[in-house]
Amino acid sequence: MTKLDSVRGTKGDVILDVKGLRIRAKSKAGWAEIVKGIDLTLRRGEILGLIGESGAGKSTIGLAALGYVKPGCRITDGTILFAGEDLSELSEAELRRLRGVRIAYVAQSAAAAFNPAHRLIDQYTEVAVVHGIRDAASARAQAVELYRKLHLPNPESFGERFPHQVSGGQLQRAMVAMALACKPDIIVFDEPTTALDVTTQIEVLAAIKDVVRDFHTAAIYITHDLAVVAQLADRIMVLRHGDLVEEGNTRQILEQPSADYTRQLLRRDPPKRDTTTASRNILTVSSVDAAYGSIKVLHDVSLSVGEGTTVAVVGESGSGKSTLARVVTGLLPCSKGTLMFDGRAIDSSLRRRSLDLRRRIQLVHQMPDTSLNPRHRVREVLGRPLSFYHGLMGRLRTARIIELLEQIELDPTFLDRFPEELSGGQKQRLCIARALAAKADLIICDEVTSALDQSVAQGILRLLMDLQKNLRVSYLFITHDLQTVRAIADEVVVMNQGRIVEQGPKDEFFAPPHHPYTQLLLTSVPQMDPDWLDSIRETRAALARAVSLA
């Protein structure tokens, strides 16, 4: 204990020094290396950004900074020196002494990381009390202070609530408070804003930035979003497949990246294309209301999709955008209003729709993992709609399946694979091919890229655009991501709390003047500029007030 205590103090010293860290994970095939010899140093008061796509090993490294590895993983080589002691050599009891006290952790999903059975304040005070740093009363008083600093509502009574009584953004800030409870030397932030809506993300981000600055805490900030980390980090490490791609201070990485991979991550703007205008509408939704039971989720929604064009429906969670998709597919019959497809009024209930109509409107889901039956091979996934709608059998059917696979840039060797043998991007391509197999006229894409890494998502978007050019298929594209809208849309519809707040051609949408909510959305998207967060805070606060008053 003495050795550790003596190091607390001078700023700028190295507080964490990781050398040659290697971590292996157990898989069915055996042990695979997921962190391949990483060196990392963190100085007092410094914020280090770890960035990479899924499988980069960034979370694993972040946890290793607490001397922790997930079940099924183990550290095979390297040292993790924290204040002179190697965490990989310490016993569990010695590590417990450090965790929560000297090194704290903020998890991605606060909703899952808070214990549902206890009040927030009790979970806050637990760390200090268990470690014998404070008594419960002074820890409570301190919590109120921190809650106030993090702009949580009613800081005096906030902690008395249970996790389920608090919104996602507030819960995430409560977890930041909990991490600060013992004034740690290091906080590891593991994608703390990824699960949040953009307008909430920026609030949490600003709160984190403030407290970390105030407390002079060193931090490791893990994320897949370079623009987010740019707002906080002094230094950035770009990781890929457990290897370091490049390391440098934030401005240098943003302005003069040396690795191709970093350049690719920086390239935020997906391919643009010319907008098309349609001669006729394939789908028209007129003043539709819809409800789940007694809870009304859509209010007077009207929009139309032109033949061969893309209409993007943008909104945050709870905006009703996915409900709109369900209404168009017929899964949720609307309680008011009409639907027209290809010039004819159609029944709002799926049960009464003809097979041909079902064939012409296809849906692609957000999660490719759950939209493919794990027990069906690619052959069956694509073959079923072919025989079901078009009566194709035998060799003809196989030929058509291969043709479809070519359209989604997969080769015939995929025919007999199960979904679990495909990557996330390949699965999503397969789902698109399934819609194509039906020869759909309108494909509803429900957040089809949001479960995928950025580079993979861009491939999917490009595929969708190519298909539209060749097949004249129309898309109703549901998304929360404005970058995606910029790439793919011809028309944009913005939804908030079940209502359309703005709609029109894409170019008008991205050019001022904006509806206040649209502007709030637009200004909430982090930019590749370290000064962006500070510059935007004032205007955003005014906007948020305007929207909440409206």
Binding site: S27, K28, A29, E53, S54, G55, P71, G72, R240, H241, Q264, P271, T329, G330, L331, L350, L355, R358, R359, Q362, L363, H365, M367, T370, S371, L372, N373, P374, R375, H376, R384, P385, F388, Y389, E409, L410, D411, T413, F418, E420, E421, L422, S423, G424, G425, Q426, R434, A438, L452, D453, S455, V456, Q458, G459, R462
Partner: protein, 303 residues
């Protein structure tokens, strides 16, 4: 404007986007798993195999007939009667062997029937939902509100204790448990997007049940079959022991214990043998199911 995902040839999977694993065939995986199976699983497998063989070839193996009186009352263990004779002078070993056929066979038949009824009703309830589900679930709730053994006793009093009524009563009662499991497992699958895709496509109930849902809940159902079998087997044995199950002269392990229980007070363990036979099979099946569950759920119990 290019990413590696798009420029690599199709087969060459983009590194950022790798598949999780290459693993064909569930059956082969199971065989592979069996090779690495722990001793307890092998123990279970061997026991079950032996019981099945004995049950199938009972009449060939047994030295005497099922109801044949071959000696005097309660003969001790001798060369002629390896395990002595029972209260009516019948050969205990032979009755033990025939008991494998009768007790195990009837329990197996009952469990299968229970799965047929409960499984299909549960799956239909899960997939169709709505009032069908509600009605079935409430009916089952009420049936389950009465303890199984008591219900069985009541119904057996009403309908009389014959093999047919025994099998059908217990199958119906046990079907309620199967219903619950099949419904719960089915619900987990029924909310999956791929089932929604099939619905949107216009597939019928039969397709959705047999092609979309069933293949995905087979492992828990198989495991449950093992557990339900144990339960039914113990229930039938208990009923027979109470004198209300299989009726004489059918050789049955439960009633064999009851008929000869008096010997225990003289320190003779023979009457415990049929009870041990029941216990051994249940242990074997339980060990097998335990291993199977661990293997198919992919859960490793270690931290």
């Amino acid at each position: 404007m290019s990413t590696p995902a798009d420029h690599s040839p199709p087969l060459n999977i983009a590194p950022a986007d790798r598949p999780h694993r290459q693993d064909p065939g569930r059956f082969r995986a199971l065989l592979e798993g069996l090779r690495r199976a722990p001793v307890s699983a092998w123990f279970g497998l061997v026991i079950v195999a032996i019981y099945v063989l004995v049950a199938l070839f009972a009449s060939l193996i047994a030295p005497y007939g099922e109801g044949q009186v071959v000696g005097s009352q309660f003969d001790p263990w001798t060369a002629q009667h390896l395990l002595g004779t029972d209260n009516l002078g019948r050969d205990t070993l032979s009755r033990l062997i025939y008991g494998a056929r009768n007790t195990v066979g009837i329990a197996f038949l009952t469990t299968s029937l229970a799965f047929l009824i409960g499984g299909s009703a549960g799956l239909v309830a899960a997939v169709v939902g709505g009032w069908v589900d509600q009605a079935l679930a409430r009916l089952i709730d009420i049936l389950m509100a009465v303890p199984q053994l008591i219900f069985a006793l009541l119904l057996l009093t009403i309908f009389g204790a014959s093999v047919t009524s025994l099998v059908s009563i217990i199958a119906v009662l046990d079907a309620t448990r199967v219903f619950r499991l099949a419904r719960a497992a089915g619900m987990n699958i029924a909310v999956m997007d791929y089932v929604e895709v099939a619905r949107l496509r216009g597939e019928g109930l039969i397709w959705i049940l047999s092609r979309e849902v069933l293949p995905n809940i087979l492992p828990p159902l198989v495991a449950e079959f093992g557990l339900r079998f144990c339960f039914v087997f113990l229930l039938i044995s208990s009923l027979s022991f109470l004198g209300i199950g299989l009726q004489p002269p059918t050789a049955d392990w439960g009633s064999m214990v009851r008929d000869n229980a008096i010997l225990i007070t003289y320190g003779d363990i023979t009457p415990l043998l049929p009870a041990a036979a029941i216990a051994l099979l249940t242990v074997g099946v339980n060990f097998l199911v335990d291993w199977f569950l661990r293997e198919t759920s992919g859960l490793d119990d270690e931290t």
